[in-house]
């Protein structure tokens, strides 16, 4: 297969956009429906990635390829899900302030553990030895295939989130987000619903972390900083928390703008790209959050017409 047409860096840029779409979709369930502000996205993302990496590189596997990889993916996803269960339990009956402190605390705790447990994680030096579970020839071909798998995973997340909007479960989540005491008085176990939501969304975030770490073949503590959380939140807020498509549109307009348009198609001097552009990117993201929430709080796509959705659901 001739892949000369494909710029390797461009592929990484598109990979990042799709990954952020996935994170923003999962965050949509939490912020958009249940209105739980998860500011610790990167904690779950990083926990999954590191658990996967430790399992894959530190265990002396006697199984043949690709089993060590696949089992490690499952391990990483489950560990992230368990992390979500723990955090969910801690914060499910706290208010927004408590949720913020709990999720931020979790993300910080993950960074501390990654830094101190260097026997498992490689500490500040990072963890290498992460590779694709297949080899179909050139590096670029492998990367393209891995990107294809990411698209499938994010597509599945999108489908799930869209289905949740059309199911009794989604209605329960919206109800809990709107008026938790009222939902409880109707017999809805709000606490349990939040707990499971956190577990599932966190497992998904962990899986995306695993996919990202594998693509980049490297895991370092700097990679699990607040900028991952920021990207997901900006994408969600800009696109709007009401519609499922909001996360997709938002991620393309924010991360896509910088990772693809600015990186490849705008004629900035080369020297800008190492320092000025990443800083500018974060500034623009920060400003976008303020401006969107002040001027157009529902995001670019605006309000979802739930009345229309409900009518359509029951006609079909």
């Amino acid at each position: 297969m001739n892949l000369d047409w494909l710029d390797a860096f461009l592929l990484f840029g598109v990979f990042e956009v799709v990954m952020v779409i996935g994170l923003a979709l999962l965050l949509h369930l939490q912020i958009g429906l249940v209105r739980i502000a998860n500011f610790g996205v990167v904690g779950f993302w990083g926990l999954g990635a590191y658990a996967f990496g430790a399992s894959f590189t530190k265990i002396d596997w006697s199984l043949g390829e690709p089993w060590p990889f696949l089992i490690s993916v499952v391990v990483g996803t489950i560990v992230a899900g368990l992390g979500g269960l723990l955090v969910g339990w801690l914060i499910a009956d706290l208010d927004t302030d408590g949720v913020l402190v709990g999720t931020l605390g979790f993300a910080t705790a993950v960074v501390i553990l990654v830094t101190t447990q260097d026997g498992l994680t490689g500490g500040a030096l990072g963890m290498s030895g992460l590779r694709f579970p297949f080899d179909i020839g050139k590096t670029k071909a492998n990367e393209l295939l891995w990107f294809g798998i990411l698209v499938l995973v994010v597509g599945a997340i999108f489908y799930y989130v869209a289905r949740v909007h059309r199911s009794p479960y989604g209605r329960l989540l919206i109800a809990v987000g709107d008026n938790e005491p009222l939902a409880r008085s109707l017999g809805k176990p709000a606490f349990r619903a939040k707990l499971w939501l956190f577990a599932i969304a966190s497992a998904g975030m962990g899986l995306l972390g695993i996919m990202s770490a594998t693509m980049f073949h490297l895991l370092i503590p700097e990679a699990i900083g607040i900028n991952v959380t920021l990207a997901a939140i900006v994408a969600l807020v800009l696109g709007g928390t009401a519609r499922v498509w909001g996360a997709v549109v938002g991620a393309i307009l924010t991360v896509g703008l910088f990772e693809i348009l600015v990186q490849f198609y705008l004629p900035f001097p080369r020297s800008w790209y190492t320092q000025a552009i990443p800083v500018l990117r974060e500034m623009v993201f920060g400003a976008a959050l303020i401006i969107v929430l002040l001027v157009r709080p529902l995001g670019i796509l605006g309000d979802m017409r739930r009345d229309k959705l409900v009518r359509r659901m029951h006609r079909g």
């Binding site: 208010d95 605390g105 501390i112 920060g286 303020i290």
Partner: protein, 290 residues
Amino acid sequence: MDFITDSVVIGLTQHAPLILAAIGFALIYRLSGLINVAYSETITLGAYIGMWINTTFDLNFYTILLPTGIIAGLISVATYLTIFRPAKQRNVGALEMIIISFGLSIFLRHGLQFVFGYPVRFYDVPPPDTIRVLGIGVSSFRLAALGSVVALALLLFWFIQRSGYGLQIRALASDENLAQVSGIRPLTVTVLIWFIAGVAGGLAGAFYGVGSAVAPLLGWRQFLFIFLVVMVGGAKNLGGVIVVGAATGVALAAMNLQFGQALYAQLALIIAFVLLLKVRGRRFADLGKV
């Protein structure tokens, strides 16, 4: 006994900026219920402004504290007037308010990087004098930080208890409309609170900065602990914030002496505080409005 005095002296002096910052953060939190994530940048700003004044005008550290505090206070007021006040007037929800402050935090943090450049910066000061306190050598800068905490605490105590403003603040915090009707000028009181909070944050930043280095993440690294201290200690009054802040400093110092690893101390504290909030939240969980 040595271990205890060591922990107390080191904890109180090393972490005095934490208490200072927590008082400022708590003032805004208690007045308006706002979790201002961008408060971490007020601290960072203080560190940068102090460094800039110090290196540009070649002034000694104690002289720069006053202008640093005032400038940080003014910037704090500016963020209130340009962002948080308009947001409140548009009835932005609690969750959105936090996201806005998060956005401002990110914006300011990277904006500072843009203005002051990427490398870490340092204060240009002679090595501080070492003063012996209960047999332990403490830098004079750290003692000054502790002194500022005491001064600010006394000032606020006087301000809230003795002057008429305390009553106004309490009235404003519980019901703004009612307060307005009873002749309180919400804008004056609110601006004053944001100013004092900014001064406290800016000074904390200057103390943090002179103690090590000035970097864009300086304030953000402290934010979680400030936040935890205020959430755990600030439920009732500012006294609680000071007590919990001091206890946090001592606990961090003690665990640091014990484990020899600052990160473990932080981890233990994060877990302890979040569990404490969980237990407290549980007690009120059933008290719904239905």
